[in-house]
Subunit: 311 residues, 2 copies
């Protein structure tokens, strides 16, 4: 289903020329008309008899779609299948991505889009160290004990979608509308999705029963947000491996930890699984695509059970 | 999973300026780098014990995605759910759409995109007659006995995705790769998807065991194609209601019927369900979203059984 969005009308724009593939029949496109824009897409599978008290809502990261949670790039089952053993699972494609659709720019969306390059993904997602990416796959050097299935990295790159930097408010509005529609729920959020998931919990702390953030790209700033509103919403953060030398990631971790500390001071629950500290080594940023994704999912499922979120 | 596509490198392009939403922090986007492009996305649900001999591969129409086959805009179950009662179901998002992702233009994709307007959909999909669309929903006049859930029309419009006119060969290549990967199969194709489905059957008549075309936008031209290659591939075409006054649709029907006649002359099977002639009235182009979609699906299932495509 699609959730949120608004009616948009474009008028008075000039026709745009288009060449046919053969070059023989130049024609035009009329960009004017009535459209819907800024909706998000949600795919859901409901069980006949879920064992969980609330459905799971899975939120992908930047430049990606809900495909993140489906079958992994190496063809093995992903977290959607894992958590369907007991949970109803809702998977979103945030505004602008995948089946959510996207809108003409600069007339509706305000910025140029960018697409994650393979180099940025390889290095920012900590599959190999900064500077280790090469165009030619055999020449790329991954971390020696990485759990990421590196032979499937280019297959993973087929999942990347263009991202617009100017849609933050629209993306959040659609997630908030989704929470009102389908929750109470437990959110599992990845990376940039952490920002939207934390905000969704702040905006509807009665509806979001827990936030499980996988390597969140940010967390609520306790200087700007009343953390007491999240007191009844248990939080779990999961971090993978290979943070040495990644200044940006270490800065993000510090900000997230500061937010966790503030939540604890309000009497809330902010738990953390540092995978290497827990003896689980070699995970990239894309934990749910790593070879040991079931092992990590089982740790999360244990946390869900501990917090009495199963029937 | 994603199927097909190719590695693409952009280099030497200038940085593109981007304004932040607040206007405070202008920044830039670097469009250069290594990407994957022209892959398609496929979502699949396999049964423990399918009753069908072959999986179904469902192919959407122009400006749309695989969402066509999922839950209908009015929230009722769609054809994916209907056919999962016995069939494994594969649903594609063709190159350029939905979770298939899209690529920068004009550097990778060669044309400007266009998005289907609500007016074009309302009129071309025969929900109301030509000229009956209005921006304001209450002022739109639908065909009086339409089966389309008109209160959900703007919800349907949230499914529309931009379309590029210059990707035909890439779209076909990905469908052909998909057929090689997952078939033998039976294809159910809609509208523009008919063009790709018929071509996929011609390109792999050993793998495609039947083509069920819902209101196909075209069919193989017997003057240019050896129809004998399709002799062993039974074809079914399904047409909805309200063709009066739609010259373009009636011209398409004549071309499809000419193709069907040629296939029959080769000893092949070309069946047709004209829904109004069969006593099923009021269907739009988007038969699978109409209120009576289960009734039409049951007719198709009957045809599948008659052609001994069930175990």
């Amino acid at each position: 289903m699609h959730v949120g969005g608004r009616a948009v009308t474009l008028e008075g724009l000039p026709l745009k020329p288009v060449s046919s593939p053969s070059g023989a029949q130049p024609s035009t496109i009329d960009p004017n008309g009535d459209f819907e824009a800024e909706q998000m897409y949600v795919q859901y599978v409901k069980l006949a008899t879920p064992r969980a008290k609330y459905p799971l809502l899975m939120v992908h990261g930047g430049g990606l779609t809900g495909v993140t949670w489906e079958t992994k790039p190496d063809g093995q089952p992903g977290w959607q299948m894992f958590f369907l053993r007991g949970h109803d699972v809702y998977i979103g494609d945030g505004v602008e991505r995948g089946r959510a659709s996207w809108a003409r720019y600069p007339e509706i969306f305000k910025s140029e889009p960018s697409t994650t390059t393979k180099k940025i993904a390889w290095e920012t997602f900590r599959i190999g160290q900064l500077g280790s990416y090469r165009s030619d796959p055999p020449q790329r050097t991954a971390f020696s004990a990485t759990q990421f299935p590196i032979a499937s990295f280019d297959q993973f790159a087929k999942q990347f979608v263009p991202a617009f930097r100017t849609n933050g408010a629209a993306i959040q509005a659609a997630y908030d509308a989704l929470v009102q529609k389908i929750c109470p729920c437990v959110m599992i959020v990845l990376s940039q999705g952490g920002t939207f998931g934390y905000a969704a919990a702040l905006n509807a702390s009665d509806k979001v029963k827990a936030v499980i953030a996988i390597e969140p790209a940010g967390a609520p700033d306790p200087d700007r947000v009343d953390m007491a509103r999240l007191k009844a919403v248990p939080h779990l953060v999961v971090w993978g491996d290979y943070f040495d030398g990644y200044d940006r990631w270490n800065e993000i971790r510090r900000l997230v930890e500061r937010s966790e500390d503030a939540l604890r001071r309000q009497g809330g629950t902010a738990d953390r699984i540092d995978l290497p500290e827990a003896g689980v080594k070699g995970n990239s940023h894309m934990v749910m695509m790593d070879r040991n994704s079931d092992q990590v999912a089982a740790l999360i499922q244990g946390w869900i059970e501990k917090h009495e979120l199963m029937r």
